[in-house]
Structures are given as C-alpha cells and as structure tokens.
C-alpha cells in the first residue's frame, strides 16, 4: 500500500514539512519507526486478504473434489448468500442483541468505576480484565455447565415454571448470553476511559442548573461518553458477529452463526474453500461498511 511506496521515497520528503525545531536530515526517522510494523501488517494482513479474495473467485475442478483452479467465478458469492442467509442474519441479530445487553451491563459498571469507586477504581479495572486469563474456552464451557438443564439456573427456572422450552442451553438465549459475557470487557473499558476523561465539573454544573439526576445524565454525561460507547459497540459487535465458539458450545444446529459455516466449510467440507472464502469476504465487507458508516456518523477520534 501507499505507506510502503512512500517509505521507499523517504529521502524525497519535502523539507518544508518538518517543523522548524526538528533538525534537517531526520525526515527518515518516521519511516524507520513505521516500516517494520507496517511491513508486518502488509505481509500478514493485506496480502492474505487479497489471497482470500482470489480464493473466493476460484472454481472447483470438475470430477476432482478438493481441487480448484484460478477463475473469476462470482457464483461462490451467490451460493454463500443464498444457502447461508439464515446464518448470516442470525450472526447480525445475535451480535446486535449481545452488544445491546453488554451496553446495559457495562454502562453502570463503567459509570461506577469512573465516578463512585474512589480508591477501588484500579481494583475494579483489574477485576474486569482478569477473567481473560482463565481462557475464553474454559469459561464458555463453565457457562454451559452453569446453564445446563440440571444446573442451578435452568432447574430453578423450571421449578418456578418460568422456562417455556425447559432448556437454556441449545437455544439462542444461551448463545446470546455467552456472546454478551465473553465480549463484555470490550464494552466496559472504552466507556470507562471516556467517562474518566470527562470533566466532572461539567456534570456538577448540570446539577447546579437545577437539572435532576436523570436529566443531567441524559443531556451531559451520556453525550460526553459517546466516543467510548461508539468504540465499545464496535469492539463488541465485530468479534461477536464473527464468533463461532459460543454457538458451537452453547447452541444447537438451529442457532449456528456464519462463523460456524465458515469453519465447517474450511475444515469439514471437501472443496468448501471457495465458498468459505466468499462467506468470509462478505462478512468482512459488511462489517467494514457498517464501521465506515458508523465512523462517518459519529467521528473517529476514539478509534483512529
């Protein structure tokens, strides 16, 4: 990409661009800092995506399952979208629900951390991150046991006749609960960061101007934390939409998400590579489009 192209012609950077206090001849320094990391991302992020795109256009060798030839075959996209539309829809729906629930849980926590915790603040911050180290899979398996039919949650609800189907696991509710749980820290941390940076005096001023607690929150606190809410929404929604572990461990066949399809097309279906690549690429394009709309709408300061 152009970062590399410019790095090659670093010596030709116009001298007028460098601030006066910076010494002449140091214009190569930014490129020296930039190139190793940028090169890594080019070779192991951009090139693989281009390769994935070419794979998504390949065709299968007739009569030789598992072999493909280079082609410009857009029918893989048609197959991907017509055959797996339910899984696609479910991914977006489940990720959206999980993001909403994560927001509902994360906001009060982040709010308490930023304004009410006092000297407990750092301990709470650690407590949000620490469960990460127990391993995502281990915790998800633990949820399966907690929500299992003979487990504490389902048996209590069943005893009270509050569980219509009799099960939590193997339903969409379990998958959404798992997604909410696993990506909750990604919602808490950005909201906390933006609330912590907010000027507390502005919030007090709201009270001084006779706004009640709720009005102050709605008109002052919430708008000030919007960059964090935006970042948190993206950081929760994106991994949730691409996840397949929660649907795999907590759900059933009728709660599979697009990630499950991609995984099984890659590893379990002979000759599934092109369709899996087309699915991956569609998912990425969809999410990037949403991100760009979102960023356009709300600004980028918290992200880029």
């Amino acid at each position: 990409m152009s970062a590399l192209a410019h790095a090659g012609s670093a010596g030709g950077a116009p001298a007028g661009d460098t601030p006066p206090q910076e010494r002449e001849g140091r214009s190569w320094l930014p490129y020296l800092l930039l190139v190793p990391g940028a090169l890594w991302l080019l070779v192991f992020f951009v090139v693989p995506l281009v390769q994935l795109f070419t794979v998504s256009l390949q065709s299968q060798f007739p009569g030789y399952p598992g072999y493909y030839y280079r082609d410009v075959n857009f029918s893989n996209y048609l197959t991907a979208l017509t055959d797996f539309a339910p899984q696609f829809g479910r991914s977006l729906l489940f990720a959206g629900l999980a993001t909403f629930f994560a927001f509902c849980l994360a906001y009060p926590l982040a709010y308490a951390m930023a304004f009410k915790a006092g000297r407990w603040r750092n301990i709470m911050l650690i407590a949000v991150i620490a469960p990460f180290f127990t391993s995502f899979i281990l915790r998800t398996v633990a949820w399966r046991q907690i929500l299992a039919d003979e487990g504490p949650v389902a048996s209590t609800l069943n005893a009270l006749h509050l569980l219509p189907g009799g099960h939590i696991t193997e339903t969409w509710a379990a998958v959404v609960a798992g997604l909410t749980y696993n990506f909750l820290p990604f919602m808490v941390l950005p909201i906390y960061a933006s609330l912590e940076r907010a000027d507390h005096r502005v919030i007090e001023a709201g009270g001084d101007l006779y706004a009640n607690g709720f009005t102050t929150f709605r008109t002052v606190t919430l708008p000030m934390s919007m960059p964090g809410v935006l970042a948190g929404t993206l950081l929760t929604f994106i991994p949730a939409a691409g996840d397949y572990v929660n649907a795999d461990l907590l759900g059933a066949d009728d709660t599979k998400m697009v990630g499950n399809v991609i995984e099984s097309q890659f590893f379990k279906v002979l000759g599934g590579f092109p369709v899996a690549a087309a699915l991956s690429f569609t998912l990425m394009a969809l999410i990037l489009a949403m991100v760009f709309v979102y960023v356009r709408r709300f600004g980028t300061e918290e992200l880029v």
Binding site: F44, I137, L283
Partner: protein, 269 residues
C-alpha cells in the same frame, strides 16, 4: 432522592456485573477439586473435594505441553508486537509524514476485521504460498498470526498514553539543555513506559487466550485454548481447570503487585 437512587443503582449493578464476570471463573476453580471419572462435568460426591489435580497439574496427557506452547508463543508474540507497535505509535503521534492517513487505516482495519476472517485469510496464504518455502502450519505460523493481531492493540494503547502526555514537560527538558536523546530516554520514555507495559500485558492475554485464529493456522500444534476445545468432546480434565485458574491468579497477582510498586514509587517521591 433520584440522585441517591442513581448513585446506589450504579454501585449495585457494578457489583452484580463483576460477580457475573467472576462466576465462570469460580466454577472453574470449584471443579478443579472434583474427583471426576471420565469427564469433569458433573460433581462427583465420592472422594471430592480432592487436591490431587493441584498436586499434579501435568497429570492429564498433553495439557502441560499445550500450556508451554501457549506461553512460548505468548512471550515471543508479545515482545515482537510490543516493539513494532510502540515504534508505529511514536511515528503516528510524533511525526508528520506522507502516507500517515493510510498507515492509520492499516493499523485500524485489523481490529475491525472479525477473527475468523483473519484466520481464514492467513490459512489461505500459509497453505497456498508459504508451505512451498517450507513454512508448514504450526508453532511459527501461530506466532506470526498473533504478532499481526497484537500490533494494532499495542499501537492503540501506546498512542493513547503518548497523546495524553503534556508536551510542556518535554519542552521544559529541552529548556534545561537536554538534547533530543536525553529528553527521550530520561523524560519521554519513562512517562510512556506504563502504556507500553499495559500494551504488553494486553498482547500477552490476547495471544494466550486466542482460539479462533489459532485454530485456523495451527495445523497439528496444540495451544492451551485449543487443548481445552479439543478435549471438550471427551471431557475436559480437571488439570485444565487448575491451570486456567492459576493463570488467572498469576495475572491478578502480577497486576496488583505492579499497582503497589507504582503507588510506592509515587508516594516516595
């Protein structure tokens, strides 16, 4: 009255959410004492609780090999990603150059890409291109992938720290006749260091916990999360619970010690 309620409400919900975050961790801890037979899913009242898994955490075949693999990959990926990401963050915050906007996008987009897409795309190049040069799926392909997705998180973390530095501190150093090198090493770097350490911790936890990308690019190599996932069907051994919970305690202890050292240093000044 409403303010009193909202104050209490936030704290009550916060405590409940923290309990929710810890619930499966507590479950993992409790079942590390289970005297299980085939699978560690149902509590066995006969002979439980037992300390035998804690005395022999490597007792289940393969669990410690997987752990060692994960730790090795985590350390290598963390070191390389932290160095590359920190350099990138300095370039992006402190310098003006052509291609800066493109570089920002290049750093941002990997974070906005679902892991499964990253895993799938890396698999296609590792299978179709790199195997020809002798780089088969395994330890190094996992490490390469982890470095790639950690870089962006390092850049974001270090960038935030760099941007929040008061530029007047560095100006003051220069007014006191510190050269650019002295200013950097004695003023800027120590101030940015907490951000770099935080970024390294984040990288390590992301690498250690990653399953989706790892599963795509690992071939026959088994990391700790992959071990747990694969053994899920046959029943996860309680030794995995011991290791999982120990990592949690270790991380907690490390961060708390870091906090205490930081506080002690601040108060001694």
């Amino acid at each position: 009255m409403i303010r009193w309620l909202t104050n209490r409400f936030a704290i009550i919900v916060a405590v409940l959410v923290l309990l929710y975050l810890f619930l499966p961790v507590a479950y993992t801890f409790v079942f590390s004492f289970n005297n299980y037979r085939k699978s560690n899913i149902v509590w066995n009242p006969v002979g439980s609780p037992t300390l035998k898994h804690w005395k022999d955490p490597c007792g289940a075949p393969g669990v410690c090999d997987a752990l060692v693999t994960s730790l090795q990959i985590g350390v290598i990926a963390t070191v390389i990603a932290t160095v590359l990401g920190t350099l990138l963050a300095f370039a992006l915050v402190r310098h003006q150059f052509r291609g800066k906007a493109t570089s920002n996008v290049l750093v941002f987009v990997p974070m906005a890409t679902p892991e499964i897409v990253l895993g799938a795309s890396l698999l296609t190049i590792f299978v179709q291109g790199f195997s020809r040069v002798g780089l088969g799926l395994g330890f190094w392909t996992i490490t390469i992938a982890h470095i790639m997705f950690c870089i962006s998180f390092v850049v974001v973390t270090v960038k935030a720290r760099l941007q929040s530095l008061d530029p007047r501190i560095e100006e003051a150093a220069q007014d006191l006749y510190a050269g650019p090198g002295a200013t950097f090493w004695r003023v800027t770097f120590p101030l940015v260091l907490p951000g770099i350490v935080g970024a390294a911790l984040l990288s390590f936890s992301l690498s250690f916990d990653d399953f989706i990308i790892t599963n795509f690019v690992s071939g026959n190599e088994t990391t700790f999360p992959k071990f747990v996932y694969v053994s899920y069907l046959r029943g996860i051994p309680a030794q995995a619970n011991v290791i999982g919970f120990s990592m949690f305690v270790l991380a907690l202890a490390l961060v708390i010690i870091g906090q205490l050292v930081g506080n002690a240093r601040r108060s001694s000044k």
